[in-house]
Symmetry: C2
Subunit: 307 residues, 2 copies
């Protein structure tokens, strides 16, 4: 059970947070960018190399503080295949460091197409007689707008590989209400998605009471978060929206069960860009990131005790 | 206006269909696979090369019959960065052949993350002082579960680059009803998504009356298709579900306006796998694909006259 493994890592590090690796170019300290551009020119390859060096440095600094990292595919994809190569290298490095890797891909497609995505990200790809891993992460995010046809192929791969996923249920952004909050019968749309997520994986509950199918629930709507925690008692939560988007430690406490389990809170910008607040031009980005991750951990632990 | 350009290509070729490039390994004729494996081994690189050779051969055979191709990202991503490299090469080859390229990526994320996706797929990526294209297609598919925050960044890039997109509205798969058909007030969820799509792009209508923001509407629910055509009079439709999924030419006719415009119908398997029905081991895959594309064109033209 992969959420069991994640929960064990959270307990060992006493830290229910995940560091987002969303490397916007301006997040990368100038000296790292310069070194990569000197080597590869101002090319997609150069930009991708800068991101890889930054990610590695961050993970070196964070790997004994945080249990998990969450690379966001968009920032790699925007650099074309060179970016995707660096995403693979980032994932491999993270796993070598013992970090649990959540690929924030938000893929959503059906049947054999969903199967292709899940082969590539969670499983293995058949080539001739061989089964080869491609991106090979522990966990992905999935968009279920197309219904269970979009979720089940990922779940099958999760069962085969002992991995797990998060579906988008109630997201942290301002316009999430446009569709997700619509009243549909006696529920709202995000409750429908949450119920579907829990139901599809209900026979597969791990030692801490959580299934393989988790849910993304934003910290920016704390009353929804609190109600969803009660409604979906077997669903592990990934909680974005802490920090830059306005969610507080007091808000995110509602994501956790009475044992302080069942959720992980994401922060990206506050950790990756911590160096921008120390006035040292990014030469101290590792110390700054580590201090920010520790501060976030301690902030949340004021409200959450992990048993 | 990019749908104007697509409509002009449709008119010139008298063919409102798009060939899906969804290269499952078993779709690639054995002699092509063998040549690539002989060159690169049974590796992700070898499998990716086989797909590239197959795609190029298909596009050589189809480029004067179909106006557009639609590569499906999942089948490239499952081969890791080597697959994404071949997706880029496929796109570049298609554009050299004068084909309109719809990348079926179904990405859905918010704000600057959506912007990163749209830079990578539709726009340009800033690296140092340079602006570099990455995947560089004409059009993408977008998942709007997160609301207008997920659609607007793509639309902004579309306006800047004269490109276009399709949001997922009513998809062709069996479980699309689970979420999309839920009654929400006086509408159902897919109508909400359709209305949102049309509204976000309403000030940007091209010469044929269509905005930059199109909609995916499956052929497998023809009465929904017919009603959506009336409801969303300025929204161009991408129609999956013809052929293998059960949609007929009679069904898809409802996607078009009275001038035979405003929609394009996808087929993937029936074209890519046409060689599997001729008993010639795939040596004739180009002729078979071309004949299948012509048959599909003629089938739809029994019901649709393009003015």
């Amino acid at each position: 059970m992969s959420f069991d493994h994640l929960q064990d890592l959270i307990k060992a590090k006493k830290n229910p947070t995940v560091a987002g690796l969303d490397p916007k170019p301006e997040y990368v300290p100038p000296h790292i960018r310069k070194a990569s551009y000197d080597k590869y020119g101002e090319t997609l390859e150069g930009a991708a190399d800068a991101i890889l060096q930054f990610n590695k440095g961050l993970m070196d600094a964070l790997c004994d503080v945080v249990p998990a990292v969450k690379p966001q595919a968009a920032y790699y994809e925007k650099l074309g295949w060179q970016g995707m190569k660096v995403m693979e290298e980032t994932i491999r490095y993270a796993r070598e460091k013992g970090l649990f890797v959540i690929a924030d891909i938000k893929r959503g497609d059906i049947g054999s197409t969903a199967q292709a995505y899940s082969d590539g990200w969670l499983g293995k790809t058949q080539v001739g007689d061989k089964l080869l891993p491609a991106f090979d992460v522990d966990c992905v995010t999935v968009n279920g707008y197309m219904g269970s046809d979009a979720i089940n192929p990922f779940l099958e791969t999760c069962r085969a590989e002992d991995k797990c996923l998060f579906t988008l249920v109630k997201t942290s952004n301002p316009s999430s209400s446009e569709l997700q909050d619509m009243v549909a019968g006696d529920r709202v749309v995000y409750q429908v998605m949450g119920d579907l997520t829990q139901r599809l994986s209900k026979d597969d509950v791990g030692k801490y009471g959580y299934t393989r199918a988790g849910a993304v629930v934003g910290a920016t709507y704390p009353s929804d978060l609190r109600a969803l925690r009660k409604r979906l008692e077997h669903t592990f939560f990934l909680v974005p929206g802490y920090g830059a988007q306005g969610g507080t430690a007091e808000d995110v406490q509602y994501a956790f069960d009475k044992y302080g389990r069942g959720a992980i809170v994401n922060a990206s910008r506050s950790i990756m860009c911590a160096w921008q607040k120390t006035g040292k031009d990014g030469m101290d980005y590792q110390d700054a990131a580590r201090a920010a991750a520790e501060a976030m951990r301690d902030d949340i632990r004021q409200f959450v005790t992990i048993l």
